[in-house]
Amino acid sequence: MQPVLALLAPWRSLRVVRRLGYVSLDPFVAMVAFPIIAALAGVTIGMASSIILLPAAVGTAWLASVTARGFGRVERSRAAALLDVAVADPHPPLHGSWWQRLLQRFTTASRWKELLYFGVHLITSSIAFSLVISLWSGSIALLVLPLVRPALPADTARFWLFDITTTPGALGAAAVGAVGVVVAAPWATVAISSLLGRLVRGLLGPGAEVAYEAQVQQLQASRSAAVDAAEAERRRIERDLHDGAQQRLVALAMDLGMAQERFDSDPEGARALVAEAHQEAKAALGELRDLVRGFQPAILGDRGLDAALSPVIARLPLPVHLDVRVDHRPPAAVESAAYFIAVEALTNVAKHAQATRATVTIESAGGRLAIAVTDDGRGGADPQRGTGLAGLQERVQGLGGRFQLVSPAGGPTSLFVELPCAS
């Protein structure tokens, strides 16, 4: 049953009908577009050879460009509607004074490709049209043969194996025609129209350089975000050290200095000062430990995410259920990103969500690492407000991952992140 259904694939959602519509219309569009554009181009070339007519040549060239642009729009929307080939408008917007804009028209690769499309369109559309229409009409003719046979001359006439003047022969030919109508012609229509679609995509769509351009822009954005993040991180560390451990060490040195002065005159006072210095030293140790551990816990590289996140959840003020299901350790960069994403998300939960419990699930599947952090808090989290979530989002996008936050007002909040694991 399955292979038979596969043969009928072109009929699914009447795809073949739309394809047939595209191929049948194609040469007629070409017959309108080609003469106009070709004539304008020809006149332009003719006039451009004469100095006096040069301004007029510029005018006709502009007209050719505008016309090609208009027909290009028609072709793109036709391809989108009938071939399901979505092709973006490839032309960069024109800008500047009128002559700059004019110049841009003739220095843009995508516009020349558009002209080229209409140069070949009449030929390609005609070939496609003749192939498809002859196949359909031939198949239909064979199919209806038994009905029209009485009207045919009585002479012997053969089609392939069949003598169509006899009833069995005509029925055999009709069977071939039926296969043609149901299977062969639809498949040929789909195949040929796909080739036409490729032509549209290739000559009327954005070329590879446009895609690269977009990629470069995205990379630049994520790189500058990374630089900003590193800068902010450095400032935060400086501030933490300055406000925390450094001040405590100053106080500690002060206490010890005073104790030294008092040893002879006031041993009891000195003892109290040393005890105070001892407390300061221990507090400074604790602060430094928290700060340094935040950079990159050694145990992450050593034992993985589950072991590294365990102490993090121990310090949070709410119970967190941690579930890490990872068969093979992901690359270090991915693992480290996942760690910081989970830590940042949990920090947000503890700070803002007013949640009573949270869950962290980390799973590897299909070359991706999926991280889900959910809580039962008040919701309403928004990356547009507050820098924590926006930073997370940038980090994920910088790694080519996906970021999704579901946080209706009133909660609950779920954060889903997927990171590609390919190293």
Binding site: L285, R293, A298, R303, D306, P319
Partner: protein
């Protein structure tokens, strides 16, 4: 008490040596990496080895691995692991199977000299010393499940101190209550959590850790 120290920071090595000497113990060797530690224990057969977790060459978990080898090859030598950060996972590795004569403490604890020396003695005598930070990590993994919800705050406190390896009298001192009260809490805990009863402190630690492990 004869002690071997393995610690790659010269400053801390010297400090520990002096601190233990002041407390009346003999530091028979102080070395800077795990290989030298194993040699020194082989040669001196000390009562206690104090081991730093991060040491050359990779600065990750050399100390833990050395400690595990010591526990397997030299059961007569107790092991106290010191670390800048304590990790629940390392503790689980270290305590797997046997909690006798083993300790795992934050380096910061050295600053409270009296407590630290007491922990060294306890471990050398076959007891257990588990850092409160490790215990709270282990409890955090267990607290999303229900059995802990049935405990009173007092009982939770006792559970934590028990997991650190403290005796009833030490728990009583830490909580500023009588020993009788502690015994009552401990008895309640064993009933509520359905733990196997055992009087020896280090076997009690094992029971508590196994229970925490089972709550994941």
């Amino acid at each position: 008490m004869r002690i071997v120290i393995a610690e790659d920071s010269v400053l801390l090595r010297a400090g520990l040596t002096r601190l233990l000497a002041d407390a009346g113990d003999e530091v028979v060797a102080a070395v800077g990496d795990a290989e030298l530690l194993l040699d020194a224990v082989e040669r001196h057969g000390p009562d206690l080895a104090i081991v730093d977790v991060r040491m050359p060459p990779t600065f990750t978990d050399e100390g833990i691995r050395a400690a595990l080898r010591l526990r397997a090859d030299h059961p007569g030598t107790a092991v106290l692991v010191l670390s800048q950060y304590v990790e629940e996972r390392y503790a689980t590795d270290l305590l797997a199977g046997n909690t006798s004569g083993v300790g795992y403490l934050l380096k910061d604890r050295v600053a409270d000299v009296g407590d630290f020396v007491e922990a060294c003695r306890r471990v050398a005598d076959g007891g257990t010393a588990l850092d409160p930070e490790v215990v709270s990590q282990l409890l955090a993994r267990a607290r999303t499940t229900d059995p802990l919800a049935g405990l009173t705050p007092r009982e939770r406190e006792v559970l934590g101190l028990m997991a650190e390896g403290r005796s009833n009298s030490a728990i009583a001192a830490a909580m500023v209550v009588g020993e009788g009260a502690v015994e009552k809490h401990v008895s309640n805990l064993f009933t509520k959590l359905d733990l196997p009863r055992d009087e020896a402190d280090h076997r009690r630690v094992l029971a508590v850790l196994r229970w925490m492990e089972a709550q994941r």
